[in-house]
């Protein structure tokens, strides 16, 4: 439900990341990492991104989303595993002392810019 605000943040960070000398180039793609535990619907996010980037240097840029699985480490037996369903206790020793290693990402990795060489 908050995808519009997030899309605006992405557009702002991406626009600020365009190097000075490439200000007039076209941004082709914005690469985003979204953890499966983050409360973001990627289809809505893409739609919002398309709307907020109209008439900006990011217009037409693709929002490429890489989904990151939820992975965890047991603080007791040190087992590392991927959480596929919402059960957050150790699958080996049943400990509830679980540290999340990934799955909360909402990160801009990079932007891809098209340069035209003469």
């Amino acid at each position: 439900m908050h995808e519009m605000g997030i899309a605006m943040q992405i557009a702002e960070i991406a626009a600020a990341s365009i190097p000075e000398e490439l200000q007039h180039s076209r941004v082709e793609r914005v690469n985003l990492k979204v953890g499966k535990l983050s409360a973001v619907v990627t289809d809505s996010l893409r739609f919002c991104f398309e709307v907020v980037t109209r008439d900006t240097p990011l217009e037409g840029a693709e929002l490429a989303v890489e989904e990151i699985p939820v992975s965890a480490r047991c603080k007791d037996c040190r087992l590392e595993w991927t959480i596929e369903e919402p059960v957050f206790s150790c699958s080996r020793c049943n400990s509830g002392a679980v540290e999340l290693l990934s799955g909360r990402e909402l990160d801009i990795e990079s932007i891809e810019i098209v340069e035209e060489d003469n």
């Binding site: 943040q9 983050s38 400990s95 909402l106 932007i111 340069e115 035209e116």
Partner: protein, 263 residues
């Protein structure tokens, strides 16, 4: 619409394909032809959290609260689970020993703020429609709202977040503790449907237990679902109407406030 339903990996491979095709057409052309420009795609590393700006403001809020010796509680739940009634009753029980102030978030109306103000605690209403009808309170909204609170005379600041089990969990506002309210008129399995919320909170209030005799509600199943998502999370079964179970909840709250004061 169909474009929206494409998976990113598919879209990407299409794009890469067409790029290769276009290069294959352009490269064999002799230099000095009519169009010898080449398109080069350059990747620029960014590596930033999208919510950086919010997190930075949350850090500022947290420092301000620590400097002022204030404990901040972020209360979240779905709409209608009884946050406001729970707060009304909580305020009556803890005032005046624990000087409290409340920030109430709602998309619109001041109904909740009006109810809470009767306790005598200062109440600041944040209507997010001013900010675009947002579904959560952000650190920036708290920063603005706090400007209306006399911090030096407050021990506890309670933030009643917007009724929503999804978005508020994503936004740090600079709080010390997060509490989720779940009521027995909702499904027992809410915790596994909204795992992020239940992972992010420090305690859960299972409210409206006075209604249990009239419902086919399995309270143990609800507690089990909470612990499936967040093993060991304290769960307080309460009735905001009758105040049953309030002693344990208030004990948890006052202990948390005292612990921060002594730190």
């Amino acid at each position: 619409m169909s474009e929206l339903l494409d998976f990113p990996s598919q879209k990407r491979s299409h794009r890469e394909h067409s790029d290769k095709d276009s290069r294959a057409h352009h490269e064999p052309r002799p230099a000095g032809g009519t169009d010898n420009r080449r398109k080069v795609s350059r990747e620029i590393k960014v590596v930033r959290r999208v919510l950086d700006a919010n997190d930075e403001m949350a850090r500022r809020n947290r420092k301000l609260f620590a400097d002022s010796g204030i404990f901040v509680l972020n209360m979240m739940s779905s709409p209608g689970s009884g946050k406001t009634t729970t707060l009304e009753k909580t305020l009556v029980r803890i005032l005046p020993e624990i000087q409290s102030a409340v920030i109430v978030g709602d998309i619109c109306t001041t109904h909740d703020a009006d109810r809470l103000a009767k306790s005598g605690a200062p109440v600041v209403q944040v209507n997010t429609d001013v900010f675009g009808g947002d579904c959560h309170l952000s650190a920036g909204m708290i920063e603005k709202a706090v400007a209306g609170v006399q911090l030096e005379s407050v021990d506890l600041l309670i933030v009643e977040n917007i009724g929503n089990l999804v978005c508020p969990a994503e936004f740090d506002i600079g709080e010390d503790a997060r509490v989720v309210v779940l009521s027995v008129t909702e499904g027992e399995d809410k915790p596994v449907k909204y795992p992020l919320m239940f992972r992010e909170c420090d305690a859960a209030l299972l409210n409206k237990i006075d209604l249990l005799p009239h419902l086919d509600y399995d309270r143990q199943a609800a507690v089990n679902f909470i612990h499936q998502v967040h093993p060991g999370m304290p769960v307080f079964e309460i009735s905001a109407k009758t105040e049953e179970g309030f002693d344990a909840w208030l004990d948890w709250l006052t202990t948390a406030i005292r612990r921060k004061r002594n730190d």
